[in-house]
Symmetry: C2
Subunit: 204 residues, 2 copies
C-alpha cells in the first residue's frame, strides 16, 4: 500500500539488440493514456521542434549546473549531446495519477532505480545469446569486430537483470507484447494504486 | 528474488456476490497448466467420487487431529462438513514449479496469507455497493432480510481488501477476466520466478 494515488512509472530497459523500442512503441499505441515528461537536451533544436514541446533546449553549462543539483531523474550523453529527464516533472505527473513509460538503456535504468524507487522495472531479454548475436549481425551496418564488442556489452548488461521486477523474453513479438501489456495492466490493478476505488467501496 | 524456481499460488477471493467463481472458471479454461491440490473433507463420497482423486475422505476425528497438527494451509466448515487443503501437497506442487489457483472465501484467504506468504492475493470487487445489492437480489432465492444480512457481510469482507495484492473490479466480465489473466501472466514474468532463464542468459 505504498503508492497510494500515485501513477505508474514503467521503466523498460534491455541489452542492445533485444528489441525494446518496438515493444515500447506498441505499448504507447495501445495505451494513449501514458503521459510524457519533456526531457532536457544540449543538442540544437531541429527544424519544427519547439522549446518545451519536444525538449527543453539548454546550454551545456546550464545542463551541467542542473545535473549537479540533482535535477535529473536520469541523464546520459549520446553522440556528444547531453539528455536528461527532470525529476520534478516526473513526480508531478505521477502525483496526479498519470502513468509514464521510460524507454531507456541499462545505465539510465540504474539511475532511475535510485531516483524513482516506486517505479516498475521491466527488462526485455533476447531468447538466447545465439539469437542476440544473429540479430546484431542482421542489422548489417557493423563490421564483425564491432558485433563481438556489442555482444560482450550486452552480456554485461544482462548481469543487471536480477535488479528488475519483470523479465520479458522477446522471442515472438506478439507474445512479448502481450506480456508487456499484462505487466502494465496488472500493475494498474495493484491495490495500492486504487485510492478512489478504496474510498468508494471499502472505506464506507 | 524471493521465489526462485517456485511456482505461483494465485489466491482469488471476493465478497459474496462479486462473481469470483465465474472468473476463476474462465482462468482455468484458458490456462490448463494450473495444477490442483486434492483437498480433504469429512463429507461422504458421492457416487463416482474416488478417494484421492476428488478428495481425501476423512473421519471428523482424523480431520481434527490433522487440523491441530497444522496440516492444512486453510480449512473451513461448510454445511456441517469440514474441508481442508493440505499444506504439504501445495508446497510439493509449488516446489516443482507448478502453479495453483485457490478459489476461496475471505476467511480462507486470511488463513492462506499466514501459511502461504509467497502467494499472490487477488480480490474481486463489485463495481459499487448498489450493484452488489442488485446482484444479491438477482439471485432470487433469498428473502429480503437475508439480502440485507449478506450485504452487511459483504461490506465487512470488503474491509479486508487492503490486505490483497491486486484488486479487480468485476463490472464487465470480459474486462475483469482480461485483468485477471494479466495478473497471472505478469506474475509469471516476475524476475524471481524464472530461474531457468536466469541460468541460460545471465549466469553464463
Amino acid at each position: 500500500m505504498s503508492d497510494f494515488s500515485q501513477g505508474l512509472a514503467l521503466v523498460i530497459s534491455a541489452p542492445s539488440g533485444a528489441g525494446k523500442s518496438t515493444l515500447v512503441h506498441r505499448l504507447l499505441q495501445a495505451f494513449p493514456e501514458f503521459s510524457f515528461s519533456v526531457s532536457c537536451t544540449t543538442r540544437e533544436p531541429r527544424p519544427g521542434e519547439q522549446e518545451g514541446r519536444e525538449y527543453h533546449f539548454l546550454s551545456r553549462q546550464r545542463f551541467q549546473e542542473l545535473m549537479e543539483q540533482g535535477y535529473f531523474a536520469e541523464w546520459a550523453e549520446v553522440h556528444g549531446n547531453l539528455y536528461g529527464t527532470p525529476l520534478e516533472s516526473v513526480e508531478a505527473i505521477l502525483g496526479r495519477g498519470g502513468h509514464i513509460v521510460f524507454d531507456i538503456d541499462v545505465q539510465g535504468a540504474r539511475q532511475l532505480r535510485s531516483s524513482l524507487s516506486s517505479g516498475v522495472f521491466v527488462f526485455i531479454l533476447p531468447p538466447s545469446l545465439e539469437e542476440l548475436e544473429n540479430r546484431l549481425h542482421g542489422r548489417g551496418s557493423d563490421p564483425g569486430g564491432d558485433i563481438a564488442n556489442r555482444l560482450e556489452v550486452a552480456r554485461q548488461e544482462m548481469r543487471e537483470a536480477p535488479r528488475f521486477d519483470y523479465w520479458i523474453v522477446n522471442d515472438y513479438l506478439d507474445w512479448a507484447f502481450d506480456n508487456l501489456r499484462c505487466v502494465y495492466k496488472a500493475e494498474t490493478c495493484r491495490s495500492g494504486r486504487n485510492q478512489e476505488l478504496y474510498e468508494q467501496l471499502v472505506a464506507v
